[in-house]
Symmetry: C2
Subunit: 170 residues, 2 copies
DNA sequence: CTGATTGCAAACACTTTGCAGCAGA
DNA sequence: TCTGCTGCAAAGTGTTTGCAATCAG
């Protein structure tokens, strides 16, 4: 029995990996506004700014870093509003929240994407996002066996990347 | 684009599902003692009690519920010691920590088990643990493509269980 | 107009940590 | 004896919430 891997602190600090393209603002803003309208919520300047900032993010990001982005761009942005908006963006199907540890959570744009899955290097903390058709098929198969209707999934694979292996030998 | 599923509060409260058999104390205690000795740590009565309590758990559990178990059994057990011991049990490869949300974490005995994967009902909050050989093969394949050495993985599938479907129709 | 929204700061809740006394090996 | 361990309470930290003023529709 081997020692159970633990997520390294480095992951909490700065998850990095292949950087997917930035998502386009217009169509997602339309989705957001439709959602807000349906829920009798309002489209405020703050929400627009936050959505813009979210869409400028590539890959995983943290609430705090989003707030920093906004401040750097000269916009006021209270943590509270950022969190509240991130929550709405999830409900609108634009974002999803990912949990790698119990300290904080990460967010990621999902609208129009398929990547739900991560390769996480236990040595360097690097996170690579990927998507697998085979995995989705297997997921559906497993769901059928249990009578589940699949909605979504999330796979985290922990391992050692080539760089991590090199670093450990070095 | 469908609305992004969010983990229901019920999951945070009382994850339940198929109950795997309780793990045997003796062999795992031996593993723990070996680990402690190797790390120049001590095998204390508190650690023994906590390991026992852990092994009486079936499926996922929370640190707090473990502390309650201990108190109910008439043992003093400070949160601090429980957390510290849970951490050692992870390092010893006996436990693993699972993150479903950012509020708290769950623990699960993994020594000698293969089940790393969960089917989570978004309607009822029920969690079913399962293990799939095909998934492990697919994982290894994906790792090969990225030059990773796989260490472990975790798959969370969100969906609607038969019971949930019935409840939603009712 | 009227109810939703915002920023602020206080509140939360799980977890970690500092410390002084205690106890395995 | 010599470290490591324990319980306690305080600190830590990402996130949430109450509230009064403000604003979108």
């Amino acid at each position: 029995m081997s020692e159970q891997p633990r997520i390294l602190p480095s992951i909490r600090k700065a998850p990095a990996g292949r950087q997917p393209a930035v998502a386009p603002y217009e169509p997602l803003c339309a989705i957001f506004r439709r959602y807000l309208h349906k829920e009798k919520l309002k489209f405020t300047p703050e929400r627009a700014l936050i959505l813009e900032a979210v869409l400028r993010k590539t890959g995983l990001f943290q609430a705090e870093s989003l707030t920093e982005d906004l401040r750097r761009a000269g916009h006021r942005a209270s943590r509270a509003t950022v969190y509240r908006t991130l929550s709405h963006l999830q409900d609108a199907g634009i974002l999803k929240q990912v949990f790698f540890d119990n300290k904080q959570s990460y967010f990621e744009v999902v609208a129009g994407r398929q990547a739900n899955d991560y390769l996480i290097c236990l040595s360097t903390g690097k996170v690579i996002e990927f998507s697998s058709q085979k995995l989705r098929q297997l997921r559906d198969e497993i769901c059928r066996e249990h009578g589940f209707d699949p909605v979504s999934h999330q796979l985290h694979i922990y391992g050692i990347s080539p760089e991590g292996r090199a670093a450990e030998k070095g």
